[in-house]
């Protein structure tokens, strides 16, 4: 090694003293980063070995899928496991207790370790067992001397230690099917496997394998030039899918894309023995050799440097406490858990150390957390990119601004037939895009459509309400699994927390949605795994792994930030289909009921008094929130007494009967103004069936949305009650005492504000647009409608519901309906209404026929 170092020293000295940066590598003249703050406190002896066992050398440390447990490859009490049967793969829980161990007798020299997305443990065995006579220059060999029968392999274990796969034949060689000195291993989100090879030997390269272990390509030769590597000791990958290679003997990190194209060279993290990049793209780099093993890097201090994998900044430095060393010292391997604690695996000192942030020092960007300690994702979010137009790099087209790819690796790996189909979709996109009909966008498309959405989070679920078409997502985080094999436009979402990342498994897709306006598509074999990771208080890193073996040659991943929408206090509505039909004349305004702007006859300013409510008669035990308020959350459906076919008692054989739900006025009849009574009767003509907005699948309005014969799920947080209506609409009810929207703002579901009166939730709704009908028999409301609803739980599974409607344009006095809401078993399903609405054309035919 010595002669090569002399050359390297000369190069570095020249670079440093003459300030002649290398154009090829960049940053050739970077100054040592030794004087950064050290906000960490070292915790020694945190990890407890079993009785009678002491720490040997370790360079392999990694965090479990759970974000908290720690995996270590340990060299059997010394610096090699040759001749030992001690288990060398060890798992410690967050408290430092050994909870699992395996691999006894399997590995000679555990060197690099990695935990993949599925929680499998990958370990490289960095040495072989060939006899080496004294004086052998192992570092010049391309492979082991004769006699190697073991070592130089990569092992894949399940989390409970079952051997699942090996890469490379035992013993190693410079031949196809073998490694020589595999240093580190990493599995990309799409399952491809990367191995870095060459610990000083004549080889020095990266090998890329498919998920099933088939060699795809290699790159790198030994050297210090562009595209060359010298001892690629460590591998890591950032959230963009860039592969970071610790090119140790060249004192640099080289960043590649997953095809081996060199993207950048970084020297500011010193001489990298170990690299770790966490889910927020914080990078940790361990230098164990500067000024000790390698004198070609004098002036740089050994230790762990912390910084940003995005912009390359170095922000903290934990120096090696040993000032002068002659061999490897401080950590060679490094990892950081979900709380930002760092773990350093040391070969020379034979130790695993923990580093925690000292009190009073600014930590990694603070993120909001819920009372149970999870990242608090709540708020209004929106992307700021052009993925909605095309996930891949694209030039501008009409309605599709240009944008960069959000696909890791840049392109979507279509099968040939599917690539042709995608091109056809692209040509036909103006009409073939499901969104051209305002259909449900599917997952992941809804997440990057440039429309804001609001996240609500409880212990049992995460609900997302979108401005676009009032779509919502219900992500169950209660450990349940999809109970059905039915296919849905928006799939079935089940989430769980992996450390600080919300991981969502989205299954049950249909084959009718696209990924973007460019016609990127999938089949109903689609499986999406999303990850939501808060990077800071205002940014969520959103990633989605896309798997569809019928359409793609391999899984692929998209990645982008979601930005907090700070200029918005509530999500409004964009009822795409309703706006389309109004614009093209298929749904016509009615000047008597619709709001037509501020100049329109002002709605009588009524500060509506709810009917004096009887005190809640609570018989059973109520479910309650931690703050003592009744807990209304769960799936409910109104025992609606046929209200969707009339509020007054009715028993026609053809339509569902009704028991009568009016509780005021006492005579059980709606107090109509004459014109409105006439209009209601007119609406019962067959040719008016077309005019009911729900026949068009538009939002039901208030209070109708609650008594149509479909269930709804109430999500309740301290600050909001959110009603997710199975007919794909939502009502967000803030409880924070904010004022109503200005009168000029009009919405299908209105502006609802809630407050508690004892155990009754009272919701006042204004700003309605007057476009809705109260039911199928055409009971009338106008834009002057205001509603006071009262939700009074009477036992754990029943809520007594009352709605008082005041509409001085339509009625002579306010009136009130009442009915129980009953808890339902099971989960929300999906009503994709306009997507399969064959009735509307029939109703249109009848309307048009009657005109002839």
């Amino acid at each position: 090694m010595a002669d090569r170092m002399v050359t390297k020293i000369l190069i570095v000295l020249l670079g440093a003293t003459l300030l002649a940066p290398s154009a090829v590598e960049g940053q050739g003249d970077v100054q040592p980063t030794n004087t950064l703050p050290n906000p960490y406190r070292t915790v020694e002896n945190y990890f407890t070995m079993p009785e009678g066992r002491t720490w040997g050398s370790t360079s392999a440390v990694e965090i479990d899928k759970d974000g908290r447990s720690i995996w270590v490859g340990e060299r059997c009490g010394v610096n090699s496991c040759a001749g030992s049967t001690l288990p060398s793969i060890l798992k410690f829980d967050a408290s430092g207790k050994l909870v699992k161990s395996f691999g006894g007798g399997m590995l000679l020299f555990p060197h690099g370790i990695h935990v993949d997305r599925d929680g499998n443990i990958w370990v490289t065995d960095g040495q072989d067992n060939a006899p080496r006579p004294p004086g052998t220059q192992a570092n010049t060999l391309a492979g082991p001397p004769p006699g190697a029968t073991k070592g130089s392999q990569v092992f894949k274990f399940s989390a409970d230690g079952k051997l699942l796969m090996t890469l490379g034949a035992p013993g190693g060689a410079a031949a196809p099917g073998y490694f020589y000195q595999p240093n580190d291993v990493l599995v990309a989100p799409n399952g491809n496997i990367f191995v870095s090879e060459g610990h000083g030997g004549a080889n020095s390269r990266i090998l890329k394998f498919s998920k099933d272990g088939k060699l795809i390509k290699t790159w790198g030769t030994k050297g210090s030039g562009d595209g060359q590597l010298d001892g690629p000791h460590a591998l890591a990958m950032d959230s963009q899918g860039r592969l970071f290679v610790g090119d140790r003997s060249n004192n640099r990190i080289v960043i590649f894309d997953q095809e081996g194209r060199q993207l950048a060279v970084w020297r500011q993290f010193s001489r990298p023995s170990g690299i770790y990049i966490d889910k927020r793209d914080v990078i940790y780099v361990a230098d164990s050799e500067s000024e000790s093993v390698s004198r070609n890097h004098d002036g740089w201090k050994r230790g762990i440097r912390v910084g940003s994998a995005r912009d390359g900044s170095v922000t903290a430095f934990i120096p090696d406490p040993v000032d002068k060393a002659t061999g490897t010292s401080a950590a060679e391997g490094v990892a950081a858990d979900a709380d930002g604690n760092i773990y350093g695996a040391e070969v020379g000192p034979r130790a695993l150390k923990k580093y925690v942030r000292a009190q009073g020092v600014a930590a990694a960007p603070a993120i909001p957390r819920t009372p149970d300690g999870k990242p608090d994702l709540q708020g209004i979010w929106q992307v700021r990119n052009r993925a909605a137009s095309d996930l891949e790099d694209h030039v501008a087209r009409y309605g599709m601004p240009a944008g960069r790819s959000v696909v890791q690796g840049g392109t979507i790996p279509y099968q040939p037939w599917a690539a042709a189909k995608k091109r056809e979709n692209f040509e036909q996109r103006a009409t073939a895009d499901p969104l051209a009909q305002c259909y449900l966008p599917g997952i992941p498309r809804i997440m990057y459509m440039e429309f804001p959405f609001q996240i609500f989070q409880t212990r049992d679920d995460v609900a997302i309400t979108f401005e676009w078409q009032q779509v919502f997502r219900m992500i169950y985080t209660n450990g349940s699994r999809s109970p059905t094999s039915l296919a849905f436009w928006m799939g079935d979402s089940r989430g769980h927390w992996e450390g600080d990342t919300l991981t969502v498994d989205v299954t049950n897709h249909n084959d009718r949605t696209w990924f973007d306006m460019a016609g990127n598509f999938h089949s109903d074999a689609l499986h999406v795994v999303e990850r939501y990771t808060m990077v800071d208080a205002d940014t969520i890193r959103y990633e989605a792994d896309i798997t569809d073996p019928r359409v793609f040659t391999r899984p692929w991943t998209i990645s982008m930030p979601l930005q907090r929408q700070k200029d918005m206090t509530r999500v409004l509505e964009y009822q795409c289909r309703a706006e389309m039909e109004e614009a093209n004349g298929d749904f016509k305004p009615d000047s008597r009921t619709w709001y037509q702007g501020a100049s329109h006859r002002a709605a009588a300013a009524v500060t509506q008094q709810a009917r004096a409510a009887a005190p809640a008669n609570v018989a059973g035990t109520l479910r309650r929130m931690p703050d003592g308020k009744p807990d209304l959350s769960g799936l409910f459906q109104a025992d609606a007494g046929g209200a969707n076919w009339g509020f007054e008692p009715h028993s026609e054989p053809f339509t569902p009967g009704g028991r009568g739900v009016l509780v005021d006025p006492p005579n059980g009849g709606l107090p109509y103004q004459p014109w409105a009574k006439e209009e209601k009767q007119n609406r019962n003509l067959p040719e008016r069936g077309y005019d009911d907005p729900t026949a068009h699948c538009f939002a039901g309005g208030v209070p109708r949305s609650l008594y149509v014969p479909s269930p709804f799920h109430i999500v309740q947080t301290p600050a909001y009650v959110v009603i997710l209506l199975e007919r794909m609409s939502w009502r967000i009810v803030p409880l924070d005492g904010r004022p109503h929207l200005p009168d000029t703002m009009r919405l299908w579901q209105g502006d609802s504000l809630g407050h508690w009166e004892g155990d009754t939730l009272v919701i006042q709704t204004t700003n309605l647009n007057g476009k809705t009908w109260l039911n199928e028999v055409g009971d009338v409301v106008s834009h002057a409608e205001t509603v006071v609803e009262r939700f009074t739980p009477t036992n754990a599974d029943t809520i007594q519901y009352e709605a008082t409607v005041n509409d001085p344009i339509v009625y002579t006095r306010p009136w009130t309906i009442g009915m129980p809401l009953k808890r339902q078993a099971g989960d929300l399903l999906e009503v994709a209404c306009l997507e399969d609405n064959l009735d509307l054309q029939h109703l249109k035919d009848i309307r048009d026929g009657s005109k002839q």
């Binding site: 339509t655 509780v663 009953k822 009503v831």
Partner: protein, 132 residues
């Protein structure tokens, strides 16, 4: 209040109850034209806001016409235990329903009788109030 309760009690057993409808039945179908037909299922469209079952029916002249029968919503059928493959193509079914007003071979299902005696209910009669 008293009156409402009384009416509810009177009607309780006669109510056909909640349907999956999202549009006016009487606008689309004709209460005065009840029909009963028997034929062979050619396709089941498992969808919301209504499902559709397509049935080949022989008319008086022996000519086969493919009729569309509107059923309850897929979600409602699902919650009552039905699954998309419960009525395979080729099943012979008998439907009671009401003809469409637009004159096409289409009807609203009241009940659809399967060979094993099970009855799939139509939109207006889809089932009782929500559980429990």
């Amino acid at each position: 209040m008293t009156r409402r309760v009384w009416i509810a009690a009177m009607l309780c057993c006669a109510i056909a109850a909640q349907a999956a409808a999202h549009h006016s039945f009487s606008a689309e179908f004709d209460i005065n034209k009840p029909v009963t037909m028997t034929g062979t299922v050619t396709m089941v469209r498992w969808s919301n806001p209504h499902g559709w079952i397509y049935v080949d029916v022989k008319d008086a002249n022996g000519k086969v016409v493919n009729w569309a029968f509107e059923t309850a919503a897929a979600n409602q059928l699902y919650r009552r235990g039905w699954r998309p493959d419960d009525i395979p193509t080729g099943t012979v079914v008998t439907i009671d329903g009401w003809l469409a007003r637009n004159g096409t071979p289409m009807a609203n299902t009241d009940t659809l009788l399967l060979p094993d005696g099970r009855k799939l209910l139509g939109p207006a009669a889809a089932a009782g109030p929500p559980s429990p």
